[in-house]
Amino acid sequence: MDGHSSHYGREIRVAWAITVKDMRTYYTKPPSLMFGILFPFSLFLSFSIGTKAPLTTQIPILISQTLFFASSSIGPVVIPTERANQTFDRFLTSPVSLLSILIGKTLAGIIYGAGISVIPVLVGVAFFGSQITNLGILFACFVLSSLAFSALGILFASIPGQTPGQVMMPLNFVRIPLLFISGVYIPIRELPALMQVVSMLSPLTHTVELAKYATGGETFFGPILNITILTMYAVTFLFMGIRFHIMNQRKE
């Protein structure tokens, strides 16, 4: 039992060391800033300028987009860069499991995404009269969404590439279409029935729904289903990411 607990303790300490190193090294790198901050804010501004909806209803959209883009950008910046510099090999030759390495990197994405997404919450509350009506749901939204999207980034970072662009491009092929079916630009209630089913399959839908619900809005699918589906995606992305990185090790 002691052996097991010391083993797990060691894995957690090493995973955290990887997280802290990634935070120090990659948070201010241009690709992280561009894809993680500029991109969602620019998308939001271009959308919000053309809409007549009140700003308080748009704050949840900004929170969701920021969680989505910022959390999923760290893995695709960090892993290809480390692959190019062969610093990723340092982890593979260290006495730590691949799971802990990827959890460390996922955690770096979670902290980045959740940390940046706090800004629109604070701005909304301080300057635009937004109200947090359900803090627990907002917390669940932040934790589950940043986990699922960070794991999505780690999953895409298993694509063999040595520059962030080589991973960001296929990732954006997935991220950008999701904006159109996830209640970001068009409310789910206004979508045709078939598209509502498709919308339910998008993880971003559930982030948007939870963010709206936490700020006094309505949800189409309900917070229980939102939380369940986001949890399923988080686990699935993490599991697939690990499998794909192991496949890479077999191929390399």
Partner: protein, 335 residues
């Protein structure tokens, strides 16, 4: 358990390409083991499998008694790795690079800090420990990389081309360091293109070619397997224009290679060739400035065993525009 490394049927396929073909070898504890081979022979693939970066398609390796496939954590605790490029974190300081490595090995704080101080002083980098590594020279980055590999007081150190592309001073520092570490009991697994370095430093060498072990033995024993490649090296004060052709016509000479300002005459009878050279110099009124008889070098063994292809050598000669006579390495290989 006398072996630090045991490769057991180690095999790697890349798709249909067989990169490493069921190789078996042992590295004894406390020895410097050289791993040589031409580019693409399977050196780096082998080292990547031994260190757990890449998973073998078949076979396994035992590192200090631990199976790298089934006990990877325990096996990795025993090793330090210096890859072919200095994979340091350029954004971090020298100090932070070492401390982070200590964290990866879960070393306690006080221990990792004292070890970092010790290694930075050992490698002459303590005064610059707070500087970001991106400003360091290539040789300094190499030293940091080796220091990182030594943080966990490993039992075996894997070094992939440790002196490649470095200035003379850095090369000497690193070679001296490797010898000292080995004297302290550390097993060294060294891949290098520098055959002279391997000959000088290694207790045993393995030569890998086309993914298979072509030979494995002590350098001097390997040299004795190609005794037919004896030669006489000669240099004249002034160089006659037809010297190459005339030297080739001397008796008992199988081949003449021009090496810089010297000629190397391959023969199985060096004494008769020496006599012929004296006569040739006297008849042509030439002053000899160097005459050496040479045994086969590790390079000769390497060329013979790897059989460098004539087409490749010809291409190289055409690229450099040098005499075709120089491209005779492959002919030696065929002897």
């Amino acid at each position: 358990m006398d072996n630090a490394v045991e490769a057991i049927g180690l095999t790697k396929y890349y798709g249909n390409l067989l990169a490493v073909d069921h190789i078996n070898f042992e590295v004894k504890k406390g020895e410097i083991f050289g791993f040589l081979g031409p580019n693409g022979a399977g050196k780096t693939t082998t080292i990547r499998m031994l260190t757990g970066i890449s998973i073998p398609t078949e076979g396994t390796a035992i590192i200090m008694g631990y199976d790298i496939r089934h006990q990877p954590i325990e096996a990795k605790e025993q090793m330090g790795i210096v890859p072919d490029i200095s994979n340091v974190y350029n954004e971090l300081s020298a100090w932070d690079n070492l401390i982070f490595t200590g964290k990866l090995y879960d070393m306690p704080k006080a221990y990792r800090e004292s070890r970092a101080v010790e290694l930075l002083k050992l490698f002459g980098l303590y005064e610059r420990r707070k500087e970001k590594v991106q400003g360091f020279s290539r040789g300094m980055k190499r030293r940091i990389c080796i220091a990182m590999a030594l943080m966990n007081r490993s039992s075996i150190l894997f070094l992939d081309e440790p002196t490649s592309g470095l200035d003379v001073q850095s090369v000497l520092i690193i070679r001296d360091m490797i010898r000292k570490l080995n004297q302290q009991g550390l097993t060294i697994f060294l891949t290098t293109h520098n055959l002279e370095e391997a000959s000088q430093m290694c207790d045993r060498v393995a030569i890998i070619n086309h993914g298979r072990i072509a030979a494995i033995d002590a350098p001097e024993k390997l040299k004795r397997t190609v005794e037919s490649l004896q030669s006489v090296e000669v240099a004249f004060a002034t160089l006659p224009s037809d010297a190459l052709k005339e030297l080739e016509e001397l008796p008992n000479i199988s081949e003449v290679v021009k090496e810089g300002d010297k000629f190397r005459l391959f023969t199985d009878d060096p004494s008769s060739v020496l006599t012929s050279i004296w006569k040739y110099a006297e008849n042509n009124n030439l002053k000899l400035i160097t005459v050496n008889t040479l045994g086969p070098s590790l390079e000769d063994v390497f060329v013979k065993l790897t059989g460098i292809r004539p087409a490749t050598a010809e291409e190289e000669l055409e690229k450099t525009g040098r005499s075709k006579v120089q491209g005779t390495a492959q002919r030696r290989a065929e002897q």
